[in-house]
């Protein structure tokens, strides 16, 4: 990973500075959303932005913005923005929504580079994989293109949060769908970036509904509830990431083959 030393230093110092302040209580996740485990990782660039400007800019890109930002009815901003601004006092969140439905990971990667150049976001929230799974994109080329884009973002000091594939009971055993899902997980691990396990969250949601003795939720109901649950998970992840202590030595990701 090549981050200019000055920027990296500033980011780490800012993250440490922010962490020194009393971090806010991370937003709670509604009971109905279950308890999907999401790793805590510091978001160094965004922590620096928070420290310097009290403002973070999130670029939302990928198949369905509604699915990751939450529903914002009656002229309200999306749920994600509302939760973050409510949780972190004085924080101004700007969401630049550049979702383009139907786009594959490779095309989205090219567009991300342009949007980053034009909008200079602190975080890229990238929902990726579902369209590639549906379009039967070979796993290797998916992994290569997503991995390259994530590496490019890290080199440009932009925090990355990958939002993975959706859980739907009907396609839980679809081999290519699962292969793309596993591939995205590998990219997140190799590149050491956050991945919101949309699949796991939805699976937990379905399981929670079943264990609580409620009649099994239909996939359609699951989806609608899932949109707002995803926004809650992402808001929590960002809040934790903004105040998390940076690791002493960040592991160096292996270059994509």
């Amino acid at each position: 990973m090549v981050i200019p030393l000055s920027l990296a230093g500033l980011a780490l110092a800012a993250a440490a500075g922010v962490a020194a302040q009393a971090p806010p209580e991370p937003p709670s996740i509604a009971k109905e959303c279950g308890d999907a485990r999401i790793a805590d990782k510091p978001l160094a660039a965004s922590a620096a932005a928070l420290q310097l400007r009290k403002r973070i800019k999130i670029l939302a890109i990928g198949a369905s913005s509604t699915a990751v930002l939450g529903i914002g009815r009656n002229g309200n901003p999306p749920l994600l923005e509302r939760i973050l601004e409510r949780t972190i006092k004085g924080l101004d969140v700007e969401i630049v929504n550049r979702g383009f439905s139907g786009e594959l990971g490779e095309a989205a990667g090219e567009r991300i580079r342009i949007e980053v150049a034009l909008n200079q976001p602190d975080i890229v929230l990238w929902q990726v994989g579902t369209n590639d799974a549906f379009a039967h994109v070979p796993v290797e080329s998916f992994e290569l293109s997503v991995g390259n884009t994530v590496r490019w973002l890290k080199e440009h000091n932009v925090d990355v949060i990958l939002v993975g594939l959706h859980y739907v009971k009907r396609i839980a055993k679809h081999p290519h769908y699962q292969a793309i899902r596993a591939s995205l997980r590998r990219v997140a691990t190799t590149q050491n970036v956050l991945r919101i396990g949309r699949y796991e969250a939805m699976e937990v949601l379905a399981r929670t509904a079943a264990t609580n003795g409620r009649p099994e939720m239909e996939d359609f109901g699951l989806t609608e509830t899932g949109y707002n649950c995803m926004a809650q998970y992402i808001a929590r992840t960002i809040t934790v990431g903004l105040f998390a202590k940076p690791p002493k030595q960040a592991p160096t990701p292996e270059p994509a083959k």
């Binding site: 369905s64 439905s101 786009e103 579902t130 549906f134 379009a135 039967h136 739907v168």
Partner: protein, 363 residues
């Protein structure tokens, strides 16, 4: 009687088939479309030829100037026709997605093509669809076309009464949109139009201006050989750049970055220049194709002659193709079936449109 095969209809048909293929992401034959060797793609060709057609519709520059008012009404009528077609196919696409989601018990299908907003917030999204501020993915070129045809009377009037101003005014708007920058917003989902109408109008106006027998059109026709000599290296260098993906890091470009990067939504200058070079070079190809492959020109020309109907059916077929590929895995065999059936239905749509006209149905 439908008109004879010609270059305009042929290239329009070519653009329609390319758009159909490119709108089935992941299909094997995607790698055979010209965008793999060209910075611009079939969208630029389609809009440029729409401008060129406007020039033919308006007729000779020497027509009496009193014809402006009826012409404006005619263009307005065409705009309403395109708008109605767009609303119809958007409704059908939503129904197709909803039906497939139900049949497959897979709600993910409801998220395709920016449709999630419609199914989650239908009241506001329905208004957005009618206002053209909410566009489904891959169903976003007709809204641009509607706007361009609505503004077309202004282009025609400027062409009639202040011809030398048309292209400069268009380019001023184009560069203003790139440098400020500004575009048309979407609603209720916050975002931007995929095709920025303030920049894409430039290629439409250039198509119109180049089709005319005076002004820029006459200049280009008089110097076509020289222009092709300049254009050919641009086309070749672009092909190399695209093939090896040799584009600079967009964050390293000077401001205003939209003037230098390769962006389809804003139709950035690199795309516009490359397209014009491509058009200059390939305008020489049609007579050769018509002579060497005469059986090839009529099937594409019939598509081009009935472009609106074919485009609408093609949009729905692309969506259906995506569903088929998901259901039956995207093997080369499935992709070949999607291609053959798709292009076959496009041709049938065009043939039925002309048959209907021959029968005098619908006036």
């Amino acid at each position: 009687m439908p008109r004879q095969a010609n270059a305009l209809d042929f290239w329009r048909g070519f653009a329609l088939v390319s758009i159909f293929i490119n709108h089935v992401p992941g299909i094997y034959y995607e790698r055979l479309t010209h965008r793999n060797l060209s910075i611009s793609d079939s969208a630029e060709l389609f809009v440029f030829l729409a401008g060129w057609s406007l020039g033919l519709l308006v007729g000779s520059s020497n027509k009496p100037k009193s014809n402006a008012a009826p012409l404006a009404f005619r263009l307005g009528g065409r705009s309403i026709q395109i708008y109605a077609a767009h609303i119809l196919i958007s409704g059908l696409a939503l129904a197709l997605l909803a039906g497939t989601a139900h049949l497959m018990e897979n709600p993910l299908i409801l998220e395709w093509h920016n449709a999630a907003a419609f199914f989650q917030d239908s009241a506001r999204t329905q208004m957005g669809i009618v206002l053209l501020s909410h566009q489904l993915g891959y169903f976003d070129i007709l809204p641009l076309y509607v706007v361009l045809m609505l503004v077309a009377p202004a282009f025609v009037i400027i062409d009639r009464f202040a011809k030398p101003l048309l292209v400069p005014l268009s380019l001023v708007l184009y560069f203003a949109s790139l440098t400020v920058p500004f575009t048309a917003p979407t609603w209720p989902v916050e975002g931007n139009w995929f095709f920025n109408p303030f920049t894409w109008q430039a290629i439409f106006v250039l198509g119109f201006a180049l089709s005319r027998d005076e002004g820029l059109g006459r200049f280009v026709r008089s110097n076509l050989t020289l222009i092709r000599c300049v254009a050919a290296p641009i086309v070749l260098v672009s092909a190399v750049l695209v093939w090896f993906n040799w584009f600079p890091d967009p964050t390293k470009l000077p401001d205003p970055r939209l003037l230098f990067l390769n962006g389809k939504s804003f139709l950035t200058p690199i795309r516009l220049i490359q397209f014009l070079a491509l058009a200059a070079v390939f305008s020489a190809a049609y007579p050769v194709i018509a002579r060497v492959l005469p059986w090839f020109t009529e099937p594409l020309s019939i598509l081009g002659r009935n472009s609106l109907n074919v485009f609408c059916v093609g949009s729905l077929l692309s969506l259906s193709g995506q569903i088929v590929r998901f259901l039956y895995s995207g093997s080369v065999i499935v992709d070949t079936v999607v291609l053959i059936v798709g292009v076959g239905i496009l041709w049938l749509t065009a043939w039925l449109s002309e048959w209907r006209e021959r029968q005098g149905v619908g006036g």
